[in-house]
């Protein structure tokens, strides 16, 4: 028997379970990374902005908004302007800002800005704009924020350029308004800071998160794998191994699965169920084996009984080759292994042949047992040389004395005097005999019937005589012949029996019986028969001296 690949099956469970966990962990990690990345960026950005505004607030202390018009008038060519610019330049280099500048946008549509101050950190690869330099506002965002600082009373504004699609590095610009005594915005002070360190910091952060998550995943996978292996795969493998072993060997295990697998979960229930199943199958197989052996034994006994019964009946033909006065043939076909019908014939003395045909009520073994007793008692009585009626009477009394089951047997018994052809017979409830007349036709003899043997004690029977002419035959049978039925439950009957016999009136007994059997078989046409079929035929050939001629 080919064993299923258990190893691969369990691996597949582990693989499925673990790959599910891995997918979950990857998704989980990705979500954590995105959330972390965003939070980290926001936090970092806030810090940058805070720094930039701090620088802007400091720078605002250096610039006097009320003097801006003066500076503009002198185009930046004054001692005070230069002092202010130096302070801003120092601040720019010390604060980490890349660019500090003061601008005045044109107030019509804020599309252009004019630089009043502009300082660039020495580390930055830019050059500063000169006083009065005019350029286009970078984009709409800047424009809106300028407008807000002038017209919307905004205290501070911030522009973040972190989209990577810009010509410069990533940076933020903190803006605060410079207001005069009347709280009118005179200019905007801007502090620009590079965010070059941020991408790097973010990269490191992501790396750390991924590393930690990867380590965590490994721990979870190994942990889960170990757990799965111990709690699921090992017990499942034990169970499948055991089921597979039981399927091949069919032998119970000394140690129950439930003793090795102590799980209280479904695996434990499964192990218990397998234990129970093995127990039941084992018991069933044991019972079945016993029942089969028993049946086998009964069959053997039935075969033996059938053979014993068959050998009880004379079945060596020709039976009396030294007696030329007659030829005899008989057959008994039980419907089951053993039957209740029987025939018998034996020489009482040199000139007297006893013929018996009988049918026990009921079927099978009880009938067979009763038949054996009847046969022995009948032949013993007949061998005492009594008349058929006396033989039946004695047999009846003998059987009735010990017949609690109220079984009975129909018997026709005749004694033929070989030298004369005179047949003395008596009938105890058996079918009518059929006699061949001198003209060759078979006819039923409506003989006088007594009660069946075994029914009641002290029944008397009558003898009657028939004369067999040389060359004539007597045919005896049981009701299995006349009551043989076809599929529609039509019976073979006496008429068909007589027809069959008269078809071959000069056939010898063996072939005549064979012919009747053939007629019955073609009549029933395969329908199952429930009664034994027994026939006996004797052909009288005349006295010894006559038949020798």
């Amino acid at each position: 028997m080919k064993r299923p690949s258990i190893r691969r099956a369990s691996e597949s469970i582990a693989l499925k379970s673990l790959s599910g966990i891995v997918v979950l962990l990857v998704v989980f990690s990705a979500i954590v990374c995105v959330i972390g990345y965003r939070g980290f960026t926001r936090e970092l950005m806030a810090q940058y902005a805070e720094g930039a505004f701090l620088t802007a607030d400091t720078a605002a202390l250096y610039v006097d908004p009320d003097k801006l018009d003066e500076y503009e008038a002198s185009e930046g060519d004054s001692e005070e302007y230069r002092k202010t610019w130096l302070s801003l330049d120092q601040l720019c280099n010390s604060s980490g800002a890349t660019f500090i500048y003061v601008i005045r946008p044109d107030r019509t549509d804020y599309a252009h800005i004019t630089f009043l101050f502009s300082t660039v950190s020495r580390q930055a690869p830019y050059t500063r704009y000169g006083f009065g330099f005019v350029r286009e506002t970078t984009n709409d965002e800047y424009r809106e924020k300028y407008r807000a600082l002038y017209e919307g009373n905004a205290r501070r504004e911030l522009v973040i350029r972190d989209d990577g699609n810009i010509e410069t590095d990533r940076h933020i610009t903190a803006m605060i308004p410079l207001k005069d005594e009347n709280q009118e915005t005179q200019a905007i002070l801007c502090v620009q800071r590079q965010m070059s360190g941020m991408a790097q910091a973010r990269g490191e952060y992501i790396q750390k998160v991924v590393l930690v998550l990867a380590l965590l995943s490994l721990v979870v996978i190994f942990g889960q794998g170990f757990y799965l292996n111990r709690m699921l795969l090992v017990p499942v493998k034990t169970i499948t191994d055991e089921a597979s072993r039981f399927a091949t060997e069919n032998v119970k295990r000394n140690e129950k699965l439930r003793e090795t697998i102590t799980n209280r979960d479904e695996i434990g229930i499964l192990a218990g169920a397998i234990d129970q199943m093995e127990e039941q199958i084992h018991n069933y197989v044991t019972d079945l084996t016993r029942a089969t052996a028993e049946k086998e034994r009964i069959n053997t006994e039935m075969t033996m009984a059938s053979r014993i019964q068959a050998h009880m009946l004379p079945n060596n033909f020709p039976a009396f080759p030294e007696h030329t006065e007659f030829d005899i043939y008989a057959s008994m076909d039980p419907a089951r292994g053993v039957g209740g019908d029987f025939y018998d014939f034996f020489l009482v003395d040199d000139d007297h042949l006893c013929l018996v045909i009988a049918d026990v009520s009921g079927k099978g073994i009880p009938a067979a047992l009763f038949m054996m007793v009847s046969k022995v008692v009948l032949s013993e009585n007949a061998l005492l040389g009594k008349s058929p009626a006396e033989v039946l009477r004695n047999t009846n009394n003998a059987i009735c004395s010990n017949n609690k089951e109220e079984m009975f047997v129909t018997v026709w018994l005749g004694i033929l005097e070989l030298s004369t052809g005179i047949l003395t017979a008596s009938n105890a409830g058996h079918e009518y005999p059929i006699l061949q007349r001198e003209d060759g036709t078979f006819k039923i003899v409506k003989d006088d019937h007594g009660l069946v043997v075994g029914a009641m004690e002290d029944v008397t029977y009558k003898d009657y005589e028939l004369r067999l002419a040389p060359g004539s035959r007597i045919f005896l049978y049981t009701d299995g012949v006349t009551e043989a039925s076809d599929a529609e439950e039509n019976m073979f009957g006496q008429d068909r029996l007589l027809t069959a016999l008269n078809e071959m009136p000069h056939e010898d007994p063996e072939h005549l019986i064979g012919h009747v059997k053939g007629s019955i078989e073609s009549f029933v046409n395969g329908a199952e028969q429930f009664d034994d079929v027994t026939m006996l035929c004797l052909e009288y050939r005349g006295p010894a001296d006559m038949s020798k001629e």
Binding site: G362, E406, F408, E431, H449, G450, V452, A455, F530
Partner: protein, 99 residues
Amino acid sequence: MLNIDKKLDKDQLQMALEGRLDTLTAPELEKALMESLDGVKDLSLDCSKLEYISSAGLRVLLSAQKTMNKQGTMKLTHVSSEIMEIFEVTGFSDILTIV
């Protein structure tokens, strides 16, 4: 198939048999008789619809007859010619009361 129709009137039991009384059905009649023969003095079996009787059926009738011999009478009524022939062949007509 055998249908048994029972009618008990005090100590008179009437049974109508319909169908075949053979090896298969004889135990049914035997059981029916065993259950109801106690105290019955007059048993009457109506055989008008009885089609066939085998040796197993005869055995049950014999049994009933023997029981009734001790406690009363038993008779068979409306016996058809086919059944009658079976009774005659087996000699049962000598011991059964057939009216």
